[in-house]
Amino acid sequence: MRKLIVITGILFIGGLITVAFRTEPAKPASYPILAKDSIGSVKAFMSVYKVLMSSRCMNCHPAGESPLQGDDNHIHTMNVKRGVDGKGLYAARCSNCHQAENTTGLHMPPGNPKWGLPPSNMRMVFQGRTPRQLALQLLDPKQNGGRTKAQLIDHMAKDDLVGWAWHPGDGRTLPPMSRPAFAAQVRLWIAKGAFAPSAKAK
């Protein structure tokens, strides 16, 4: 009996710790599981890829240490840097210019409360990744911020900073499809088996 109490206690505390350290909602939206279909899954991923490689997404997922700007993905003026936490360095912190919302007007700083790059220990690079590389990277919890597939869907479908891409402020082009359409393709990609495109896919 004593043993049982101890074990229950340990399980309970363990559960508490797990819950406490989750960054995403404890119960991420579940997603339907469809019959495995590598062709359909890859097809869905290819349209997800087009969105992720569009400027509004890729500019904050650069291969280097500076964010990018514009539809030509040039290095951010002032050569600002990622910094350890992804929020910039010294006098060049993102939120020194980027407010909690877009500043109105052409070429004014866009904004969001979470504005920033992925942190230096989880760089989540999109720039330069092939479809296959990006699919595998997104699915790997060691490279995707520790997310399960359900959390990945949740992030793409609901995260506020991701959602900025569809409200980017004056003069910025939108990703190639709406957010609900994008989220639907992410779900489909995963529901059909989360297949990665072949190495030849572009």
Binding site: L89, Y90, A91, A92, R93, S95, Q99
Partner: protein, 156 residues
Amino acid sequence: MITITVNGQRHDINGDPNMPLLWAIRDIIGLTGTKYGCGAAQCGACTVHLNGEAVRSCITKISRADGQHVVTIEGLSANNDHPLQQAWNEVNVPQCGYCQSGQLMSAAVLLRENPNPTDQDIDDAMSGNICRCGTYQRIRAAIHKAADMQREGAKI
């Protein structure tokens, strides 16, 4: 009503919450050391400290500063004796001077966070502060000098 503490003094400001902090500082509070260059977060002339961070006051709304602490160039030190100000004097950094209060406020954040900055650290911190007169080399030299002075001061 928006309440902002500027250089330790409380100010109640009756105005549009969307008013740029720079306008409140210059036109309402009357501290004109902070300059207006571009109004678009591109030049750094308007840099002040908001809770210690080097924000650009031309695009920071006063609503963001409500209840917060702002320090302007006038409040960087009590007697114009911040190591950066002393070094600026010794090296004769300014030419026209227009960008310099912004340069100093940015450099102050750099020195606080990194007491021994390399040239690269200085570039990383200061590239967003534009100087039309091109005083960049002297700014770099003065930051190194101020870092030395700060270290010497810490030894005493």
